[in-house]
């Protein structure tokens, strides 16, 4: 295995950064290391005074499979402190992306599940190709989408969260646009050019005006999370992940069998 970075980050002469999820072999599923690299990349970029906009994209067939469930199952056996620490890092990464001071654009292709949906919701402007599909799959393995819940609620509203976070149904790009997760849907071959159109529009805005407009929206809609909220969300996710039900759900998924609560109903 090569040492190819799992997060690629670059910034061009205009101040446009591109951050790429780069774990295509497992559909860009995230573990603690990917979360840490994403956080580090966002931190480095945000301290660059030339930064004007950020594009988030993914390499490979799919945008993101969400959390790496094999890794998550091991995390369930961590000490309570380690388990909480992982949820804190995840919650903070989503917060860092959502609250990045410059406008963010995400380009989604292929499947986007679980925490991947949270990354999309955290960006200011979301574009998807027609082949994109989405699902909030957490409940099917007995875990909780707590770290991404505020970003989701802000993007699609409580009404839609109540449906899709509970049913874990898969929905397509058109439905994602209807509920507000995605702003525009384009053919796969137009995704990159449409992303660059949005970036070009953003670069016409005054850099300070853009940062202040983003801060204004967060203030008016009360979107920013404080430390207490971050800690509370992380604790909730960690406790749920360490529960018997989550161990069963994650174990069943990895063992390619139905979890007990499905088998019970089927018999």
């Amino acid at each position: 295995m090569t040492d190819e970075p799992i997060i690629l980050s670059a910034i061009d002469g205009r101040g446009v950064a591109t951050v790429t999820l780069n774990r295509p072999a497992i559909h860009n599923a995230y573990n603690g290391a990917l979360i840490d690299e994403l956080t580090a990349a966002l931190g480095a970029l945000s301290s660059d005074s030339h930064l004007r906009a950020l594009v988030l994209r993914a390499n490979g067939k799919n945008f993101s499979a969400g959390a790496d469930l094999g890794w998550l199952r091991r995390a369930a056996d961590f000490t309570p402190a380690e388990n909480l620490d992982f949820s804190l890092r995840t919650t903070r990464a989503v917060k860092a992306l959502a609250e990045l001071r410059v406008p963010t654009v995400v380009a989604v292709h292929g499947a986007c599940f679980g925490g991947g949906v949270g990354l999309v919701a955290a960006c200011d402007i979301a574009l998807a190709s027609e082949d994109a599909s989405f699902a909030l799959t957490e409940v099917r393995v007995g875990v909780l989408p707590a770290p991404i819940a505020p970003a989701l609620d802000a993007a699609i509203g409580t009404r839609q969260v109540r449906r899709y976070a509970l049913t874990a149904e898969r929905f397509d790009a058109a439905e994602a646009r209807r509920i507000g997760l995605i702003h525009d849907v384009v053919p796969r071959e137009a995704l990159e050019s449409r992303t660059q159109d949005i970036v070009a529009a953003l670069l016409l805005g005054g850099p300070q005006a853009l940062a202040e407009t983003k801060a204004l929206i967060f203030a008016v809609a009360a979107l920013a999370l404080d430390d207490r909220q971050v800690e509370s969300l992380a604790r909730w996710a960690a406790e749920r992940r360490a529960s018997d039900e989550a161990r069963e759900g994650l174990g069943a998924f990895l063992g390619k069998r139905a979890p007990a609560w499905v088998r019970e109903r089927a018999t």
Partner: protein
């Protein structure tokens, strides 16, 4: 009155308030803001007015801030800018909290503050010829005092796109994101307005007023503190180097420094 910038027409419970500076696309300056505020204050006190319709004369609904006004603002101190922004904030609040139902008749372009007026009305109806943009950032400014109402109408998700990209969008998209409720061909806009006004007049006047207050209370109408905060934000930015450069470049019809 021929030169009135905000003429009022009243008949049978329906008051039609028209922005009437068609030569400048009904852009607003301090005079129009004051006049529109006075007209709305008068209407708010009248028990015979059951519905208020807000319309624009000429080609556009409202182009937002007036050029001459912006030119004067460019020389303002932060304190003068704050007084100015506060007056616009009060106008938006006045329109948003009119005791009777309000209907926006959007027949043409609504830009910047014009979008704010649309968002402050209870029902917004647009022609397919209408176009919308939150263009402030292109001038180094922010859509500050209108933001509580615009975000209330379209939600933070659409706001994050259109307030940041300043892209223009059409009536169909405006309807999809919730800024306008219904769209009609230009020739059918007045018939659509009439349908909605007639429907509103079937409601009990006191029930309508209380239902509107209920909707504002439950939905979380912007607090006085938030309204003051948004005015302070724009006053600060207008007096900043980027805000001055953006407005000056626009007035001089050149690109601002950040686009070079």
């Amino acid at each position: 009155m021929a030169d009135d910038t905000v003429p009022l027409r009243y008949a049978d419970g329906e008051a039609v308030v028209t922005l009437n500076r068609p030569d400048v696309h009904n852009a607003f300056d301090d005079a129009l803001i004051a006049r529109l505020g006075d007209v709305l204050d008068q209407l708010a006190r009248r028990s015979d007015v059951r519905v208020v319709v807000l319309a624009g004369a000429g080609k556009s609904f409202s182009a937002g801030a007036d050029l001459g006004w912006m030119r004067r603002m460019a020389g303002y101190t932060e304190a003068e800018n704050l007084a100015d922004a506060s007056r616009l904030a009060r106008l938006m609040h006045r329109l948003d909290t009119m005791p009777m139902p309000t209907v926006a008749r959007v027949h043409g372009a609504a830009i910047g503050g014009g979008v704010g007026l649309v968002a402050c009305c209870d029902v917004a109806l647009a022609s397919t010829a209408a176009g919308f943009a939150l263009s402030e950032v292109r001038l180094g400014l922010i859509p500050a005092v209108i933001s509580p109402y615009v975000i209330g109408a379209i939600g933070p998700r659409a706001a994050r796109r259109y307030m940041l990209t300043a892209e223009r969008f059409d009536a169909g998209e405006a309807r999809r994101i919730g800024l306008v409720h219904q769209v009609a061909e230009p020739d059918h806009l007045d018939a659509l307005v009439k349908t909605v006004v007639d429907a509103l007049k079937l409601g009990g006047p006191k029930a309508l007023a209380e239902t509107k207050r209920l909707a504002l209370d439950v939905g979380g109408a912007p607090s006085e503190a938030l309204r003051a905060d948004t005015a302070e934000r724009i006053a600060r930015l207008r007096a900043s180097p980027e805000g001055r450069e953006g407005v000056t470049a626009f007035l001089e019809k050149r690109k601002p420094g950040w686009q070079a």
